[in-house]
């Protein structure tokens, strides 16, 4: 069986696009953190990317069926780690998201995504009904909903929202019917006011400030306004003033959540669209891999990764251009941060494994 597995079957063009995006990310991190206390972050980002690549190759060797077979254990561990964050986590800026380990800080909510992708893939691969039943809704919803509520309690609204597309993608590919979709959307709309009620005041403020950022220019609307100005002043070819928004500290966290704004300011419309195109290519390659997957669970895994990646891009870039509220979701592959980079490469490792087994049966 193993003789059918070869690195020739690796999706080298996908890796190429991914590495180009990472490289642009490193360049932008260097530019954005120059002369700040974060100077040197781009070097650390290179290490993360290299580490991620190595992890990707290792993971690609593991048969994804083996992963699926043990996914219920992983799910328990993942839920347990979320509970331990709530109990022993490090409080930073009002939220308990991190566990302090001997080798550094660890944010479990990031890895839970990966496990949820596998869990959803397994669930829908095994359900053999032609069409989706309401039971599937409840079960898939619980599968994703439990960790989602725990992350919400941290509180980390942004990360909790990223679990949602995994379930949505699973349901859609699992045979969602129009009628069901309408009912679910209606229920969600009806639940909205209740959820709104549960949000913390600062979360509400962030969600409303993007609708009318001018209402409080120096308060909660500040980040949105500064981001819009950064992007807008970039113009067609990049800012003539060499990115003053980014470099003079007006743009908040230009190396993480607002890295796309920093990039757009410095490289202009042309650079921003080119970057979006790269992401589009990555997503298209992934969807192709899903079509070529040897079996149902393989497709579901790859499409789960597509869902998470696309959702991140939509929310992050949408936030930067003022279409989405500020939720603190990083731009995958570009934003500075170990957890986010490692997650993407591990996810790609599983995708590679699925692809390498397309002729295996």
């Amino acid at each position: 069986m193993s003789r059918f597995i070869s690195y020739r079957d690796f999706d080298w063009s996908l890796i190429f696009f991914v590495l180009v995006i990472c490289g642009l990310g490193v360049i932008e991190i260097r530019s954005a953190t120059m002369h700040t206390k974060f100077a040197g972050a781009h070097i650390r980002q290179i290490y993360w990317v290299l580490g991620g690549l190595a992890a990707m190759f290792v993971v690609s060797l593991i048969n994804y069926h083996a992963l699926l077979d043990s996914v219920h254990w992983m799910y328990l561990v993942a839920t347990g780690s979320l509970v331990s964050v709530l109990l022993f986590g490090q409080k930073y800026l009002g939220a308990r998201r991190w566990i302090k380990l001997p080798f550094g800080h660890f944010q479990p909510s990031e890895w839970v995504k990966l496990i949820l992708i596998l869990a959803i893939a397994k669930y829908f691969a095994e359900s053999r009904h032609q069409d989706l039943t309401w039971g599937d809704f409840v079960k898939a919803g619980a599968l994703v909903g439990i960790p989602m509520l725990m992350v919400l309690a941290q509180p980390d609204l942004g990360t909790a929202l990223t679990y949602f597309p995994i379930a949505a993608m699973g349901l859609f590919l699992g045979g969602l019917r129009w009628r069901q979709a309408v009912v679910v959307v209606l229920i969600l709309v009806l639940l909205m006011p209740l959820a709104w009620h549960k949000l913390k005041p600062y979360q509400k403020e962030r969600l409303t400030s993007f609708l009318s950022p001018d209402a409080d220019r120096q308060g909660s609307g500040y980040q949105v306004i500064q981001s819009l100005i950064a992007v807008g002043s970039g113009g067609m070819w990049g800012s003539a003033t060499a990115g003053s928004q980014t470099h003079f500290g007006y743009l908040p966290v230009p190396q993480t959540d607002f890295i796309f704004a920093a990039w757009s300011e410095e490289r202009g419309f042309v650079g921003a669209v080119a970057l979006l195109l790269l992401y589009f290519m990555v997503l298209m390659r992934l969807t192709q891999n899903a079509q070529m997957a040897p079996d149902r669970p393989g497709s579901f895994i790859v499409m789960g990764v597509v869902a998470v990646l696309a959702f991140h891009i939509l929310v992050n870039v949408g936030m930067v251009v003022g279409f989405m509220p500020v939720t603190g979701i990083p731009l995958p592959l570009m934003s500075y941060g170990g957890s986010s980079v490692l997650f993407m490469f591990l996810a790609l490792g599983i995708v590679m494994n699925v692809r390498m087994r397309r002729f295996v049966n």
């Binding site: 928004q245 007006y250 079509q291």
Partner: protein, 654 residues
Amino acid sequence: MFGREEKVSTIRLTAVQYVLLLMFLVLGYGLWRLQVSGSDYYSSLAEKNRIRKVPILAPRGKIVDREGRIIVDNYPSFTVLMSRDPTRDPFADVDLIAKGLHMTPEEVRDRIRRFAGMPQYQPIYLKEDITPDELAFVESHRNELRDLDTIMEHRRLYPRKGFMAHLIGYVGEVSEDMLKQPQWELYAPGDVVGKSGVELQYNQLLMGQNGYRQAVVNSRGKELGQLGETEAVPGQTLKVTVDIDLQIAAEEALEDKNGAIVAMDPRTGEILAMASRPTFDPNQFSVRISRTDWNALVNDPAKPLLNKSIQAQLAPGSTFKIIMATAGWQEGIAQTLNVHCNGGATFYGRRFGCWVKNGHGAVDLPKAIYQSCDVFFYTLAEKLGIDRIAKYATGFGLGQKTGIDLPNEVSGVMPSEEWKIRNFKQKWFAGETISVGIGQGAVAITPVQLMRAIAAISMDGRMVVPHVINPTDLPSAYVEAAHYLEAKTIPIDSTGWTTITDAMSRVLLPEGTAPSAHVPGIDIAGKTGSAQIVSLALRAKHMKNDDFAQNGWFVGFTPRRNPEIIVCVLFEGGEHGKLAARLATQVIKAYEDKKRRQPANVAGKGEKTDVGALWSVPVGGHEDDLKGGHFFVPVTGAGRLATVAPGLEAGHRP
């Protein structure tokens, strides 16, 4: 395991691809909208977007004395800022800056590093409250050190050496703990608010309303112009009822001693002076008190932050005998009580000694007061019983807050049978009543309580609410909340209180307990006291030296009828009430001296002036001064009255 034929629907996968395409088109449109069609608009915003809300701090209201003389003022204080230019190394000029601002280069580096994590447009605060020569340094180095700038703000200027510090209080930045309390919820971090005394009590009036202006700054934090401005409303000037001249007399009397002096107008309840020792310098707080200075103040066993006039709870000693005498008179016992004092007496099987070991002989009420005979009051206490004593003492406000308009007043304790059962689950022992009769035992009162009670007795039972701000100067809400206008009168027999106060006026005469405190020409009625029970902290401190284990007390007023001023002195470790009496008479003398110097009463030097109510027999060659029922005394003392509180003279800086 999974059949290949059961693949995921290709149509659905293709649908996902179209959704993704749509998503990217939308994002691309967002970029187009901002970067191509909105480019000019946002570029101009980037140039001038930096609108900063710069607060205009409202100057805090001044505090003046009853005659409008300044006690607390503001002075302009400059802070050196450094704006950050990312193209330049912020540490480049550290040595020059350090030299000019009289800091060590390490301190300057520390300051710069501390601001590293803040947004670039936030300037670094290098040094607060700089001296004029440091200001001159910044001004003269504008060209070399272009990143340096100064801002001006008003800071509090308090009198020096802790003059009146306890009554005034001090200000500081509102703390996080305070912000959580409902009365501070409208304040913002960084606001400077009152932390004690009048500054705290009347913070809202003193504070005013900060204004702000919307300044336009470039990306380096330099101001280019402004969009709008909301003016600040300065705080209200607050007039306290204190008279600086009397306050000076009180502060000087307490110099190098521990204790408290409080003076009041018994007709209105206006506090005329309030001093407490040891004291602290509130100017230390007005910039930013260092941690070591603060710890030294808080951990000092002598408790310099404590306003002893309202916060010391101590046994009143023999001054309590005035309350006893009034209670005894009202109950019809004291007027006919005659005891023979042979230096002590036995009650309930235990011997209680009189402070005069050889005894006072035959004692009636007046003699018991001016000689402070313990045996008389032991007997009176036994006859009255604790509940009748407690009824009168409580009626005169002992063991309760007086309601003075200063924060953190304490209530003290007036024991009774019910109090003992409630707090100790024990029955009252009749023997305890005997000690209470001379102001010992569980009785614990504050100087201001004692003064108010004695004032009421001297004023035909009229109880006033002591206060430091005249209610007519305050918004009505304050007056209602403070119950100033609740007139309360304890019905007492006028023959009784005149007999008692007549006896009190002999305390400072040769036959009394404090003849050394006598001031010729001033009719002072008072009562000395010395209390064996001292505060625990002081007892520990003075354990080795037994002579100082007693607190001296004195409450005195003048004139004897319709008094104008009453003074209460607590002289901690003062051994005997007569020493406290000497301190009190310094304040009373200052009051009389000042009154005689007032235009209506002024006599030319060497002439004589009518001083009204004088009851003591003139001694020492002044017998001629009695003419037609009035006393005429020669004007002495060319003392000068204060124009401002010490330390507030023009040009003075802390």
